[in-house]
Amino acid sequence: MPLCSANCGSNAILKRPKTGDALCKECFFEAFENEVHFTITKARLFEPGKTVAIAASGGKDSTVLAYVLKLLNEKFKYNLKLVLLSIDEGITGYRDDSLDTVKKNRDDYEMPLKIMSYKDLYGWTMDEIVAEIGRKNNCTFCGVFRRQALDRGANLLKVDYLATGHNADDIAETVLMNILRGDLARLNRCTSIITDSGDGIPRVKPLKYTYEKEIVMYAYFRKLIYFSTECVFAPNAYRGHARVLLKDLEKIDPSVIMNIIQSGESLKVNETANMPTLTKCSRCNYVSSQTVCKACVLLEGLNKGLPRLGIGKSSKVKRILEENEKKNCDSTSCCRTNNCKKDIEGVEKCTDKLSSVNLIK
């Protein structure tokens, strides 16, 4: 058994993927925590006196994030107020169990917890959505809805920051995926440690440079309780090609993770590249690259019995939406398009109806 590289005399328990160092338990804890602290201070993630919502799923990343933020907040006197924010997608046998883990985090770490449900936000649980659309594109709904749900939760809680548990492996995977998809807009922003959804609440990623291996090892040696299972609707959804590729590469040389992140950070998209401009959704006011945001399109599909509406190309969606609205205009029930704005009453009716479905009650 090798000795700790920090020359403390103890036996090493872990080989660090980032540096190759062999560290003992105590030196590993110190290195892990100090690096997160360094990331937070170098990027000036938080201002003292502010409130941070930690997006908590009960999984390994958010559990470690909550634990470490609490520890660093006390140790380095960040003077932050920490709260937990969880999303209940309404998936029986999956989220109900992991929410129990989050509730345990709430008690262990003495942080207030807010749970927002898809049912309250959108009128649909994932169980109901799957019953409607089957198991093929359900992850699209869940992913789109979750992002907005976190932002809406952060708004409701009036917090100053929303911290997510994205780790280095996640970010490298996202960079790869955006390259594979040719998604320049996302490629351009996916490595940012702070992003803004347009609502003034920055999203921050304190674990951006932390390897997944170290997060799992940290949770294990700190004996943190986290929930690990597969979503009942997407067994093996994690086996995306980008993920498999990345894990295979990481096995050969763990530094590929940092190299990919660094490449993503250093990339500058050619000025002549065609980039979508961000605007606000005309229905729910959420930041969007289309007139109507993806969540509202998916929701309209569900509510009108056309669940596949938001799956596929946005140009096709636009056409179907316009056709629908034209039909609706004729029957004067609901109207939104420019060429029939004269029907002001209709517009108002429509907006009210949508916001009651869409916004937090």
Partner: protein
């Protein structure tokens, strides 16, 4: 000579591949050569793994993303698949691939 008695544990979601059972006390038959973890992986495939071996094994090792700890220490410090198993060893497999 008696068998080689060890404990195998699964965590982080890896237990889902083994009937959700986290700890297995196993007795490995004595053979001509010493037992290394590489042999143990094949033994697990034959004796414990129910189905979908590709979610646990890849080539001659575990699938990338599954961590292995021998007596609570990273197997990467111990030559991974070539580690010679000792009596009463605790060998833990933790998946990092499962979400929350």
């Amino acid at each position: 000579m008696s068998n080689l008695e060890i404990t195998i544990e699964f965590g982080g979601g890896a237990e889902l591949l083994f009937d959700n059972k986290k700890a297995h006390n196993v007795s490995l038959p004595i053979k001509n050569k010493q037992w290394i973890i590489g042999d143990l992986l094949l033994w697990i495939k034959e004796n414990l793994l129910k189905d979908r071996p590709e979610l646990f094994l890849q080539d001659d090792s575990v699938r990338p993303g599954i961590l292995v700890l021998v007596n609570d220490a990273d197997w990467e410090l111990m030559d991974t698949v070539n580690y010679v198993i000792q009596p009463k060893d605790k060998i833990l497999f933790i998946s990092t691939l499962h979400g929350g």
